[in-house]
């Protein structure tokens, strides 16, 4: 073999703590290496050109690049060597940046380590074989999970692009958090007025199929060909018949059901439509509050429904769909207010979450848009907002900034004044994060035009005093304690991953971070991709973000799906398992272990049983390889020989005797 080694400086990123020239010099001595050089930026245009030229001039048939992580540039360099006529699998990368130069302090030790990593890449490369991808047909339908503003945007863009789009939403209406907001920053325009038309478009688009009150039960398959099972939860109303007239809710005698849409401010009926602009506008029964289910009586709704839509016998139903790509847009949820005992969360009725406050401000909310203290219905004359509640707080294991609360707090302070002009507003804050277009100006307006008193300092406690709430905080700019009397305290509760996110991630085989937010493939360059091909992210499920960012990400995910579907066929990854029929004894242990059902039993010509890998299904995990005691099934590109070559070198390198 004729191997070329390129050791990248990455400016000073690598060269600062690794002697790249020395690594190249050492590599020059490695077996079958005919060329080893260091290069300032391997991925740059001249860097890539140099690789291509070297392949052509030196007749290289294998290339090692020692640079950053392969998770960053493996695909780049595979394309590079391919352009020079090499098979893209005749290429290996040694990660001497993330795993060496950025984590080791000692230049000598780093240089040793980098040299070793280059060596094992060479050792592996010597066993590499050219692999060719097979192509397969793509199912050009897309699944969008979660129909908040991000999911709606992604679905509309996909559908407008001509794709069949399936939308699965867990609650009985689309819209997500945005549908609950009163007005939105920084324009202070009515939230539902902007979102409503999009919700209607979603419902009416002939390319979109909406499953509300539904969740993902299971997802199998791979990019281009996923099979999804959707659990449609029983609503006890036949939605094919229901016209959304609302008669049933008017007559329902059970009026104490928890009102989830209104964030538990106020109560609703056991059968209800969450809000006037709900999409789909269909009634559903909350069995835990319905007298029929609790006491086996009533049935009023069934009697009044003009179209006989009530069906107490309805059961959950699982439907199956096939799609080629998935957009996850499941958003976020606020932390449980009861975790904030020092603020009386869950104990004092006049301490509410920011989202509850949105509902209290909303004209379609439980108070009809009149600000009232939940305890006794009086109009508040002093509202205190507390920022960073459960955010940037290591004592709660939540170091993150929730990103949008600074902005919505300013918005809520402004709206408070427009509801009750003589109401005092105070905001306790630590820092103000307002980096968007027009955002800082908005904060200034809250302070200057709307006379909101911003106090820099955290709040230590909220306690009842003379029938009101005393809020005790610090004013760190003055170096004093500050106590403010409030009628209503609004907590800017931190954003966490949507309930059930971890379960969903496991079904989709994507990763999540310490807070349950889904992990993007690369923090800068692949913000909407995940590490599972064909699964994309949009909106706050990836981390807290405001509406403009969520919408942009929804469109970006749709763009990614359309780019994926722009080809008629996709190439499968040839790094799959392969059975050596001569060695295979037909024990089928591999078939039983494969997590993807990628192995089938076949009859050999002599009638004996053999295992066979279905290449389009195999995901290349290599679990089967380990199972097979006869070494008959091997994972291409990660064969035993290749991995052992790496192990052997690392061991051999210090088994050999020193010369004297």
């Amino acid at each position: 073999m004729r191997i070329g080694v390129f050791v990248c400086h990455c400016g000073t990123n690598i060269a600062g703590t690794v002697d790249c020239a020395a690594v190249a010099a050492a590599a020059q001595q490695f077996p079958e290496v005919v060329l080893a050089v260091d290069t300032p930026y391997a991925c740059s245009e001249p860097g890539q050109r140099a690789i291509i030229e070297a392949i052509e001039q030196k007749g290289l048939n294998g290339v090692v690049v020692a640079s950053c992580t392969p998770r960053m540039h493996e695909a780049t360099f595979r394309r590079t060597v391919e352009r020079a006529g090499l098979n893209r699998y005749m290429f290996e990368m040694a990660n001497i940046r993330e795993h060496v130069s950025w984590v080791g302090r000692d230049k000598k030790l780093n240089t040793f380590k980098a040299t070793d990593l280059v060596r094992i890449a060479v050792e592996k490369l010597r066993y590499n074989r050219p692999l060719t991808a097979k192509s397969f047909a793509v199912n050009k339908r897309v699944l969008v999970i979660g129909a908040g503003v991000a999911g709606i945007q992604a679905a509309l863009d996909c559908a407008d692009g001509g794709l069949e789009t399936i939308v699965v939403e867990r609650t009985s209406t689309v819209g997500g958090k945005m549908a609950k907001l009163d007005k939105t920053f920084p324009t202070v325009d009515c939230s539902v007025c902007v979102l409503g038309p999009k919700m209607v478009d979603l419902a009416q688009h002939r390319k979109i199929k909406l499953y509300a009150m539904s969740e993902i039960a299971d997802l199998s398959g791979y990019v281009g060909n996923f099979e999804v099972s959707i659990r449609r939860k029983a609503t006890y109303v036949d939605w094919n018949k229901c016209t959304g007239c609302g008669l049933c809710a008017d007559k329902c005698p059970s009026r104490k059901a928890p009102d989830h849409f209104n964030e538990l401010v106020g109560r609703t009926t056991a059968i209800s439509i969450p809000f006037p602009q709900a999409i789909p506008k269909k009634a559903s029964i909350d069995a835990s509050s319905c007298l029929h289910f609790l006491k086996d009586r009533c049935g009023v709704c069934a009697k009044v429904c003009p179209v006989e839509a009530i069906d107490f016998e309805q059961q959950d139903e699982v439907v199956k769909e096939s799609v080629g790509a998935v957009v996850v847009a499941t958003g976020f949820d606020l932390l449980d207010i009861r975790r904030f005992g020092q603020y009386g969360g869950g104990r004092f009725p006049d301490v509410v979450t920011s989202l509850q406050y949105e509902r209290m401000l909303s004209a379609s909310g439980p108070t009809g848009g009149h600000l009232k203290c939940p305890s006794d219905g009086r109009e508040p004359k002093s509202v205190v907002f507390i920022s960073c509640v459960g955010s940037r707080d290591r004592s709660m294991d939540r170091a993150i900034c929730s990103g949008f609360c600074c902005m919505y707090t300013a918005k809520q302070a402004i709206l408070t004044k427009s509801h009750v002009p003589d109401c005092e507003t105070h905001v306790f804050y630590m820092d103000i994060r307002a980096p968007g277009k027009g955002y800082d100006e908005f904060i200034r307006r809250a302070q200057e035009e709307y006379r909101t008193n911003y106090v820099r300092g955290r709040v230590s406690s909220v306690y009842p005093k003379n029938g009101r709430l005393a809020v005790r905080g610090a004013d760190t700019l003055l170096g004093t304690q500050t106590e403010v009397m409030a009628d209503l305290v609004v907590l800017a509760v931190g954003a966490g991953a949507a309930e059930g996110s971890r379960d969903l991630a496991e079904k989709l085989r994507i990763s999540y971070d310490a807070y349950g937010f889904f992990m993007e493939s690369h923090p800068k360059l692949k913000p909407v991709e995940t590490n599972t091909a064909g699964v994309f992210l949009a909106g706050a499920c990836q981390g807290p973000k405001d509406i403009p960012a969520s919408v942009a990400m929804g469109s970006a995910a749709a763009g990614k799906v359309m780019a994926l579907f722009s080809k008629e066929r996709l190439e499968s990854d040839p790094q799959v398992a392969q059975v050596n029929a001569v060695r295979c004894v037909g024990c089928l242990k591999c078939l039983r272990t494969c997590p993807f059902g990628a192995i089938q039993e076949v009859q050999a010509r002599d009638g004996s049983t053999k295992a066979q890998v279905i290449e389009s299904v195999c995901q290349g995990c290599g679990v089967c390889t380990v199972t097979c005691t006869d070494r008959a099934i091997e994972l291409q590109h990660f064969t035993d020989n290749q991995l052992l070559a790496e192990v052997n070198y690392l061991c051999r390198s210090w088994m050999e005797k020193s010369p004297a």
Partner: protein, 157 residues
Amino acid sequence: MSVVDGKEPSVKELRIIGFLCNWCSYGGADTAGVSRFSQPTDLRIIRVPCSGRVTPLFVVKALMSGADGVLVSGCHPRDCHYSEGNLYARRRLEVLKRFLPTLGIEPERFEYIWVSASEGERWQTSVTAFTERIHALGPSPAVKVNRYDARLVAGGL
């Protein structure tokens, strides 16, 4: 002669091999790098698609041939990119761990951990702790040679 300036490195390294799954732990080690979480340099990482790809034989082979320690790191139990590859890995490697003493290998020289792609800090602490543990055990009794010189020879220097 050393690759840098003719002198031996200031710290004596031991030889530790890490098998890291591509999706979680390799990414976690990347995250640690991106965050500049400094670590001891002893460990050399071999990338595998899944911790379920790690044949116990690799581990045994490495330890018998003189590796001072072997660390396998995969995705968290319910977060495997390949749904359950890491569960197979765990089962096999558990058995392996119990089996090591019969081969005359101290079981402490082998460890199996979980690190996800976001857990750069966890990777840093895991590597540091494991390296410290191996240093406490000292060089593997499987080989008794001057390690540095030997490596330089092997490296062709």
